[in-house]
Symmetry: C2
Subunit: 296 residues, 2 copies
Amino acid sequence: MGIAQPQYIFGIDGGGTGCRVAICDASGKRIGEASGGPANYSTDSIGTIANVQAAVSRLAAAHSISPDDLAKSTARVGLAGILTDADATAMADALPFKRSIVSDDRETSLAGALGDANGILAAIGTGTFVAARSAETTRFFGGWGLHLSDQASGAWLGRKALRRTVLAHDGLASHSDLTQALLERTKDLTGMVAFAKDATPADYGSLARSVIQAAASGDANGLHIVKEGAAYLNACLNAVTLEGEDVICLTGGIGPHYEPYLETVFRDRVRPALGTALDGALRLAQQAFNKMEKAP
Amino acid sequence: MGIAQPQYIFGIDGGGTGCRVAICDASGKRIGEASGGPANYSTDSIGTIANVQAAVSRLAAAHSISPDDLAKSTARVGLAGILTDADATAMADALPFKRSIVSDDRETSLAGALGDANGILAAIGTGTFVAARSAETTRFFGGWGLHLSDQASGAWLGRKALRRTVLAHDGLASHSDLTQALLERTKDLTGMVAFAKDATPADYGSLARSVIQAAASGDANGLHIVKEGAAYLNACLNAVTLEGEDVICLTGGIGPHYEPYLETVFRDRVRPALGTALDGALRLAQQAFNKMEKAP
């Protein structure tokens, strides 16, 4: 093996609101952590590369890790918006490590939430994906963005509430406190249409909390929308065979709020996540490092 | 009344694919027609003004109508994307006529389809709106754009079909010829996500015909989607009280295809539209002209 040299293991997690980097040493001891700017690769690949590089450099500098040592290190990177092998390769090539394994953030989130156990992660923030790990395979649902998927997500809840408001305005649904409040927020329907014209998923997501609160207080439109989101989640859960001690983790800013609306058989399996997607990235990085060390 | 001078009446219709201008003289005789570039005011107000002005100038030149005569003329203008009074005023101010009455294209479309009769127009092209005229009032449904409304529209059908394809890919719906064909068209789900990232309503609408054809040939996913669109239309029709000889007109590239999916009581009232939105604009312009002539 030659002379023992410092070897570091990096876990990196990123999405539309920011990125985070954590390091541990070869013994698995966690050394430090840094955060940086937005890192959704499909929204802004150049900014994502720059923000992740900057966070890595800052963390390396804070712990006096030299470029030489970085060049010997291993990293596991999970970023929102990594859609193709070409994306993953371009991102890996932009990092200073000996070995960078890059994917979207679904596998790292799953590893963070469940560790090595089997079960299901429903990660529901601005977007939504569901991951189900069994002895044989890992199966994913959704995560393809608001245009084509992301049912039950914060952005989906917010946009559904605006659509419900239009239906109520047109007399095809009944108004409630929720739809009245949304209409007042934009003054009138014209203001709402103007908002929607340029609204990002994050803009729609900013309305999600009021939808969840409305549902919790019995508002008919709020309940209608949240139950439709829950129906999607229940459909995902029903598409999977749960066994033994399999747990269900609801994460993200919105996920835990769905627990009361899940079918009883699923509610009984809900447990807190073991850790975050950053923890998952670091965990997978350690596994990759150990595997590499054991290789001839 | 002074010396009789030539007075002209203009009808103008515009939307995302183009604009059209028609003239008649004070006796109601139709003189000519011209078409021009896109005229959706909310998408591109400057281009809309320029395209409508150019079409008017071209038509005036072709019929040797002088600027002086234009300045004595009356126009009724119906343009997609006129959302506020400020939009209507700005558009009217940009036209060379003595009097320009500007609105979105819902009233002109209704006047074109029904003439003076009562009944319902379901105008379904890339977007959708429904207008119901009774003795007392005219009621509108939808027409607020794909983000918040436009159920049953061509854009809505196309996007629904892509969403259904994602559900089938994830194992939450069954694939059919329609969803398989859509997946092949973009090679894989990543290609479909890339298409949706920047897709305009017109882009989604380009898929609508294949959805309608799939439904007509019994494809389960095509039927599921078209029936959901029809459910929205039936809900609009059920929200209105139809009387006596009230007719229902289904217009636009998509509208007529919904006839087989309407409730029987509505199907029995379906009749061809009397005319186009341009005919309606000219009709309303004549009415405004006659009213003005009779005024003291």
